[in-house]
Structures are given as structure tokens and as C-alpha cells.
């Protein structure tokens, strides 16, 4: 290693250190912005070092420079434009798109590396490495898988699981073809074999995500994020670049942790989700809410009395809140209550939203201060002290049936909403949630139902509270 390349490697190590410190600073909302800046700094250092390496090397042709600079500039414009204009409700789609392009780029690095290697040393054994094959497989699966996930989240592809006869067999065949062609490459260097690996993996990515239902997207996005990280780390092995290896490992760890958290919060194993079939409601055993159970419905004036004279109110937002674009409406109601000295907080279930932590971002956008956003474990003991729990567009995560064995959500961690002294549920109808079972909370004598669209209901409640207290 010449002193020049050694210096560049050290600069890459510095960049990697910035990534670690940046992620570390994200352990609190107060320091998170600085974390992002440190991480950005690391990235700029790494890219500049790479450009210096290219200039020093001197073998980049004029066309080569044009191609990479124009490509990078166009990519930057597209990336920046989407980052500036994306709606917070559409964040999962954007993250999924970034997963797709990251995984795709990693696969291309390996494909190019292999082609170049093979064209210069054709037929020589040992030029195929495990990392090349893994990079192409994982990167390609991530690319198409993330595109399908983004399509499902955007609604351009149906959110329902797309299942057809022989789908699993086809999946198995594609996996065998991809791995088989990869193994073949170890014995005979072959570009067509690499092409087969890539194509089979691309098809596998599509087939893997299509059968997964919309409700499972938080897990799928996390998993694809872990895949992208791994693909980038493999690209690092292929071109022996420590910055790529470290960065890829960090992302792989992050995606892995979030995947596990999301799967646990949904009470499902990863295998169960990938194997598909949830969200159809077919397999769910209905829990009997007795037909004669008293469902009490409530008027805005009565909710206003409960809310205005409470001393502690806990709001339980679900994806229904975001779907109705009611974040600002709920924040306004909360501010009116707070101005009366009422303690207001938000109980946020890990899977509220379409990706990990999504609901927090939506509420932060509506100017809700982050100390009011409480995680499940933190807020559950507080329900017993709450005068009113206001449930908005959340269903399965509040169902006490989860505490009993023998139904579709048994064992799922839930918010202990039923511990509150009084419960108000805003909901459009009595329709069941993704698990396809009735919510026993609604039949609870302490519960009142407010049947309306979340945004309209919250506006009516806010107006009623204002009228009541003048």
C-alpha cells in the first residue's frame, strides 16, 4: 500500500467514524440534527477523497468523467427535489425508493467489477468471489423488492396481498436458479451466468414483496433497509473499500434491529410475514363481541364535557389519523385542552403508521412538541391515571383480546387503553382492523363511540370544547 492510498483509506476511516458518531447523536431528539450534520460531513469527506483518488489515478477518460459527473449531478437533482417536496405521509415510499436505488447501485458496482475482471483475465479460476455473487443477489432483490413496496405504499399497486397458485414454487425456483448460477460461477468464470443471477434475483424481489399485505409494510421496509446495507457492505468487499464495509454494516444493523422491533410489535415472526397471507382476514378467527353488546355512541357536546373537565388526557393515534390528514386537527384540540391546564400526551404504538416511528414524524410536523410523544412501555402505566383516553383511527393495537390466548392477535403488545377512566373512540364505522377481528374495547361500558371521519370529528370536538368553556 503506497502512502497515498494509505492516506485515502485513513480518510475513509474518518468518514466511517463520522457515521458512527452521527448515529450515536440520534439517541435524543435534542442532538439528532447535529448527528445528521456530522454524518453529512463524513459523507462529503468520503466523496472528496474518492474524487482525489480518481484524479491521482489519472486513468479516467474524458467520457468517463462526463459520465460520472453528469450521472451524479442528475441523481442529486432528483434526490433533492423528492426530499424537498415529499409529504410526510409519503415518507415510507421515499425511504423505499432510496433503498431501491442504493441496492441497485451496489449491485451495479459488483456487476461492473466482475465484467471488468473477467474481460481482463478470462477463464482464470478464482476471479469470482462470494461477495460479488452475494452483492448482485441481495442488491437486485432489494432493487425490485423496494420498487414494489413503494408502489404498494403509494397505492399504484394494490395493498392487498397478491397471491396466485404456484407463487411459492416459483419463488423457490427463482432462488435456486440465482444461487445455482452463482455457484456455477465459482467453477467457471462466466458473464452469462452473472446475468442469470441478476435476472433471477430481480424477479425474486418482485415475487417476494407482491404477496405481502399493506399492514406489514413497516416490517418489509425495515427488512429491505437491512438488505441494502448488506449489499453495500458486499460492494465494499468487492472493491476493498472500508468506508463501504463499515457504512453497510451500520445500515444492516439498523435495519435488522428495526425489523425485529416491528415484527415483535405485530406479534408475528419474520417468516410468517414473508410467507404472506396476513391482511386478508381469511385465517383470523373472529372474537365474539356479543351481538347484543351495548355499543354507546356519543355526541360532540358530551365529549367536550369529558375532555374539558379532565385533568389528564391521553391521545392514541393510529394510521387512520394520518389517512384522514387529521394531524393538525388533533394538535389544535390538544392545544385548547393544554391552555386549560390539562395534561395531554400521545400514546404511540410501535406500528402506528406505515414505517417504524412514522406517527411521531406526522405529529412533529403538526407542531406537537416531542416530550408529549410517549412510547408504549412508557405510557402504559399512565392510562390508569388518565381521565380520558381518546382513540383516533387505531384499532387492533388497543384490543384487550390480545391479552388472552386463542385469537389472531394473542400476545401482541397493546396499549392499555381500557385502564383509563373513560374512553372515547373516533372511528368511521364498526369495521374491523387488519387482523380482521372485533375490538372488545368498543363493548367496554367505559367506552363511547364517535362515528365520524377523524378530521371532522376533531374539529367538532374542538369547537364544542371552545363553546363550553367560552
Amino acid at each position: 500500500m503506497s502512502s497515498f492510498t494509505a492516506t485515502i483509506q485513513l480518510v475513509y476511516v474518518l468518514a466511517a467514524a463520522c457515521f458512527v458518531v452521527g448515529l450515536h447523536l440520534m439517541n435524543s431528539p435534542a442532538t439528532a440534527r447535529r448527528g445528521n450534520q456530522v454524518s453529512t460531513g463524513g459523507m462529503i469527506i468520503a466523496v472528496v477523497a474518492t474524487l482525489i483518488l480518481l484524479i491521482h489515478d489519472g486513468t479516467v477518460t474524458g467520457i468517463g468523467w462526463t459520465v460520472i459527473i453528469v450521472g451524479a449531478l442528475l441523481g442529486s437533482v432528483v434526490g433533492l427535489y423528492s426530499a424537498r417536496t415529499v409529504k410526510m405521509t409519503a415518507m415510507p415510499q421515499l425511504v423505499s425508493m432510496f433503498n431501491a436505488v442504493g441496492g441497485g447501485a451496489a449491485a451495479l458496482v459488483a456487476v461492473y467489477g466482475y465484467m471488468h475482471d473477467e474481460s481482463t483475465r478470462a477463464g482464470v479460476l478464482g476471479t469470482t468471489t462470494v461477495s460479488t455473487v452475494l452483492d448482485v443477489i441481495i442488491g437486485s432483490v432489494t432493487f425490485t423488492g423496494s420498487l414494489i413496496a413503494a408502489g404498494k405504499l403509494q397505492g399504484t399497486i394494490t395493498g392487498q396481498p397478491v397471491v396466485f397458485k404456484g407463487g411459492r414454487v416459483l419463488n423457490a425456483v427463482l432462488a435456486i436458479v440465482a444461487v445455482g448460477a452463482g455457484v456455477f460461477m465459482f467453477t467457471t468464470a462466466s458473464q452469462p451466468a452473472l446475468l442469470i443471477v441478476a435476472l433471477a434475483s430481480l424477479a425474486f424481489g418482485v415475487m417476494m414483496v407482491l404477496p405481502i399485505g399493506g399492514a406489514d409494510m413497516p416490517v418489509v421496509i425495515s427488512l429491505l433497509n437491512a438488505f441494502t446495507g448488506t449489499a453495500v457492505a458486499m460492494a465494499g468487499f468487492v472493491i476493498t473499500n472500508w468506508a463501504l464495509i463499515v457504512a453497510g454494516a451500520l445500515v444492516g444493523a439498523s435495519g435488522g434491529i428495526l425489523t425485529k422491533l416491528m415484527a415483535d410489535a405485530m406479534n408475528r415472526s419474520l417468516w410468517n410475514i414473508i410467507a404472506g397471507g396476513f391482511g386478508t382476514g381469511d385465517s383470523a378467527v373472529p372474537v365474539a363481541v356479543a351481538a347484543d353488546a351495548q355499543i354507546r355512541s356519543i355526541a360532540a357536546d358530551d365529549t367536550a364535557i369529558q375532555l374539558a373537565y379532565a385533568s389528564k388526557v391521553i391521545i392514541v393515534p393510529g394510521y387512520g389519523l394520518a389517512a384522514a390528514q387529521a394531524q393538525h386537527a388533533v394538535a389544535e384540540l390538544a392545544q385548547v385542552l393544554e391552555s386549560r391546564g390539562i395534561e395531554v400526551s400521545y400514546a404511540i404504538h410501535p406500528v402506528a403508521g406505515r414505517m417504524p416511528g412514522h406517527m411521531n414524524v406526522l405529529l412533529a410536523e403538526a407542531n406537537v412538541p416531542y416530550p408529549q410523544l410517549k412510547e408504549m412501555d412508557e405510557v402504559n402505566p399512565e392510562f390508569a391515571r388518565a381521565d380520558v383516553a381518546l382513540v383516533i383511527g387505531a384499532n387492533d393495537v388497543t384490543n384487550p383480546a390480545a391479552r388472552r390466548p386463542g385469537n389472531a392477535i394473542s400476545g401482541m403488545p397493546i396499549l392499555d387503553v381500557d385502564q383509563a377512566k373513560s374512553i372515547i373512540v373516533i372511528k368511521r364505522s364498526m369495521a374491523s382492523g387488519y387482523a380482521g377481528i372485533d375490538n372488545e374495547l368498543y363493548a367496554n361500558p367505559k367506552t363511547s363511540m364517535y362515528f365520524a371521519d377523524a378530521k371532522k370529528a376533531l374539529a367538532e370536538m374542538t369547537a364544542a370544547v371552545k363553546t363550553l368553556v367560552g
Partner: protein, 106 residues
């Protein structure tokens, strides 16, 4: 197995452990920005995409380099920009105190 590969593997495993340790401490409130930040970090693949340029001297090479550079740059620039935009929204206090104020357009 070459020394270089062993070194690479060591770095990979240690970085994985550091990642688990550091990321395990991030609160659920910040999980979306965390994933977005992780996303921008894997944009480092841009370095890999640029390095293709060193040996690319054919049409196929140029095309691959172009697509890889485009993808990776979109990833890295968009990732950091959107993470910053999200984190800017996390405030300790409501702007203007607890009384409802005008919509904050930034």
C-alpha cells in the same frame, strides 16, 4: 483466504456490533429519521460508483457507471436532505407557547 479478506471481514463484524450497540439506544420517537439517516449513509455506495470510472473504457462500462452514479447520488443527497427536513420538525416546545398560533410554514 487472503489477508485482505480477513481484514475486511473483521471490520465488517466489528462495525456490525458497533451498529447494534449505537442504534439500540435510539428512541422509537426517532425511528423514521433513523431509518432515513441509515439510508443516506448507505449512499456511500456513491464512492464505489465513482471508482468504476477508473477502469471504465467501454460503452457498457460507461452506461453502468452512469446509472450507478445517478442512483447513488439520488440516494445520498435525497437521504440527507429529507432526514434534515424531518429532524427540523422535532421541537421541545410548540412555537409561540401552548396557545394556538398561526401555522408555521418553513
Amino acid at each position: 483466504m487472503s489477508t485482505a479478506l480477513v481484514t475486511d471481514l473483521t471490520i465488517f463484524v466489528l462495525a456490525l456490533l458497533v451498529g447494534i450497540e449505537v442504534i439500540g439506544k435510539v428512541p422509537a420517537t426517532l425511528h423514521t429519521p433513523l431509518m432515513s439517516a441509515a439510508n443516506s449513509i448507505h449512499g456511500i455506495v456513491l464512492a464505489g460508483a465513482l471508482l468504476i470510472g477508473v477502469t471504465a473504457h467501454s460503452v457498457v462500462g460507461y452506461v453502468l457507471a452512469f446509472i450507478a452514479a445517478f442512483f447513488a447520488a439520488a440516494n445520498v443527497v435525497g437521504g440527507y436532505a429529507v432526514t434534515g427536513r424531518m429532524l427540523k420538525m422535532f421541537r421541545r416546545r410548540t412555537p409561540g407557547g401552548p396557545v394556538p398560533t398561526q401555522k408555521n410554514e418553513s
